[in-house]
Symmetry: C2
Subunit: 443 residues, 2 copies
């Protein structure tokens, strides 16, 4: 059978890419690496980060800046050994079917980059260098304070002394650092150079679609503070009946939620700034969003419509089990991949949500009013949830979720509207109309 | 009512962008401009190109190279007047609701660029400079021969003399040409710089999603020769019944087409090179593609599935008219925008095809085996067809279409398999199962 297009719509089984981070310390390399890994894994592309610092730390847990001095032969030897150990594990991982490996290290000399390129090329792995270059001292110091001082290297040390030590460590790297293609002799390399957190990017010799998707994602990242709010529509008449899909109106309690939602959102913001509201094109999300203030822009997206249940649209789970017993079992066995007859799978939904995720990455404060399956997929992206588990997550009605992306991971707050609603969660094998979620189902 | 997300999923009504081409003559500026315009119009974004050369030509139809010499005061005055006339018309067009205006000229000096920027900024129009920079003499001369000598400037002239004259004209521009941000004093500008047809691109200060989509599209263009083949699936059992949608098997004549298709394709290539086959996930396209040689890669795309007819899936047009008489009329009134209950409109299909178009632009030889509505949308992109007319186009079964993009426009060839099939074309208001297309319906 011909392969299905994956999350970014391309057959990747023959492509292996090593994304090689380049840049001085405190330039956000690990931030970029972990974002890329999360995005690719969400798209079901096998991706893994190999952090050379972690390999080095097992040998030298708390090195001082001297360790990073080129004059320190012992330090240089150990750092080289760490790079080799990371490369060794990465190549093993590729041989077992890995698709995109991310080598997270400074790779700040031409010699080191050539070694990485040659080693990967020999194994048939494409190399995409990604450099983060930033000369803004304020941004660098903010990064040191926010990220580096919480690193294992500095556990239990005086913050001021640690910050000073870290600045010295950077200076040692600066002595040997060469920006990518700075001398024009790396212009055959495939690379993305991100300057000052995306204010300028240079893209050199991108070769294929998968590379171009990674590059497009990375060039859209920003680090301005913002949050994303998620809510399901208010309880609908179909929810009351235990029916799936359709385009039903809200129940009386659903209308109550719609009325309360703007205040719930305003309270969660803490200051007076307007959000942009995204809904699906279905009545129940549009109706839930009709009381937001006039200075909130609103936008309807077809891509936010509920998972299409095809021939099962409008049925209860009991009806599905009666009419399509085999499908009922198959869906429970692999809910992420099961595609309703004439409808969609969760995997299909992820593909159509990809532009939504891309625009979310570019945007600042957005509230999304959408549907259970869609919310599960978006939540899984931000919270890095396993795609095999996310279709089973409990996402209660009448609850506002606020997600705030941080350097590593995403903070979550929940705000209940205190308006009763039925549960639409369903456990494996169950055909109950309304079932109490098991404790493990709470996301 | 909240605005619907448009073709690239973003609300653009408040955004106006002037794309300002920059570069020496024969660098493919007009090629880029017309591709961008076609792409945006296909996405229902109002876009228009303003070519300064056309304004200049009305004044000086056959200028010699001297005309472009800076020392020629009369020439300079007229070229300035042409730029002002183009700008004047463009601003008028923006005031009438235009979204993306493309100013196609050399804009080769900093002064001219500052004038464009200031003039647009005063009107609340964002400016995105797009420079094509190319120093490859072979590529430049190829462009002069292929494109420029067919230009109105050189009608009736000796080709060799004309080429020489054109080279001299470029030399005059070279004297004053400054590449974007070459001196570092244009680094506040939003720009895309494309070097040597995309081998390197620099992206500076892209500000919003719409800009980023234009940039992403332009950076994926290539000019390597290639073709795209389009075919509908073979005749299906549903086609025989006059039913729409579904997931039916092929009819006996549909199977004949599947058997004949590989040879039809091979004959149309003219040489022995393998293609990549894209199908939908539905039986009738997969079945139609099962006899291609083993060295043809195959890939299934959900995005290539037929337009979802929602509640009307599996019905004949007579049944639709009987059960949903209002919908039947509404669809005929505005077929591009009409969305089936629980299903899709042509506009929705265009949105989900956008990644397909992007990958097609990046790719080389592809054959797409898909469905009537999908083929109409893809065809409309390449052949620049009006979206209000494309849903009515006749796309006969058992016919292979070969499209070959050229510098300006796309060449088309058709190859009939000479295997009879029913017609699935339908005229406005008709409920006939099989109807002969009117002559005007042929695309």
């Amino acid at each position: 059978m011909a392969p299905r297009a994956n999350g970014i719509g391309v057959q990747v089984e023959d492509t292996k890419i090593c994304v090689v981070m380049v840049g001085l310390p405190a330039r956000g390399k690990s931030f970029i690496a972990q974002k890329a890994q999360r995005y690719l894994q969400w798209l079901s592309i096998d991706a893994q980060t190999f952090n050379v610092g972690n390999y080095r730390r097992t040998e030298a847990p708390h090195p001082s800046a001297d360790f990073f001095d080129l004059g320190n032969a012992e330090g240089e030897k150990r750092r080289r050994a760490a790079a080799e150990a990371a490369m060794h594990d990465m190549l093993d991982w590729f041989r077992q079917g890995g698709v995109i490996g991310i080598l997270d290290a400074t790779n700040s000399t031409k010699e080191r980059r050539k070694w990485v390129l040659d080693t990967c090329t020999k194994e048939g792995i494409e190399v995409l260098f990604v450099e983060s270059k930033c000369d803004d001292e304020t941004m660098i110091m903010a990064n040191i304070r926010d990220v580096k001082l919480t690193s294992p290297d500095y556990v239990g040390q005086d913050p001021e002394q640690a910050a000073q030590d870290f600045r010295n460590r950077i200076k040692n790297y600066e002595k040997v650092y060469k920006s990518l293609d700075e001398d024009g002799d790396e212009n055959d390399y495939t690379y993305l150079k991100i300057m000052d957190v995306g204010s300028q990017v240079i893209i050199n010799r991108i070769r294929d679609y998968l590379q171009s998707r990674v590059v497009y994602y990375l060039m859209n990242l920003h680090i301005r503070p913002r949050s994303v709010w998620l809510s399901r529509h208010g309880e609908s008449l179909y929810n009351l009946d235990g029916r799936i899909g359709g385009d039903a109106d809200l129940s009386p309690r659903g209308h109550q939620y719609a009325q309360k939602l703007p205040q719930l959102v305003a309270d969660s913001i803490g200051e007076d700034r307007p959000l942009t509201v995204w809904t699906s094109t279905l009545k129940r999300t549009i109706s839930t969003s009709r009381f937001f203030p006039e200075n909130y822009n609103q936008l309807q997206w077809k891509a936010l419509d509920e998972l299409d249940a095809g021939v099962c649209d409008g049925m209860t789970y009991q009806e599905i089990k009666d009419v399509y017993p085999e499908d009922f079992v198959q869906r429970d066995e692999d809910k992420f991949n099961y595609r309703y007859r004439g409808g969609e799978s969760y995997r299909d939904v992820v593909i159509r949500l990809e532009p939504i995720i891309m625009e979310l990455e570019r945007s600042e404060d957005i509230i999304i009013v959408t549907h259970q399956a869609i919310l599960r997929c978006i939540y899984a992206y931000f919270m890095k949830k396993d795609q095999s588990k996310s279709p089973w997550m409990n996402v209660p009605l009448h609850t506002l979720i606020k997600l705030t992306p941080r350097a590593y991971g995403t903070d979550e707050e929940r705000f209940s509207a205190d308006i009763p609603a039925v549960s639409t969660w369903r456990g494996k094998g169950s055909t109950a109309k309304h079932e109490n979620p098991t404790p493990g189902a709470n996301i």
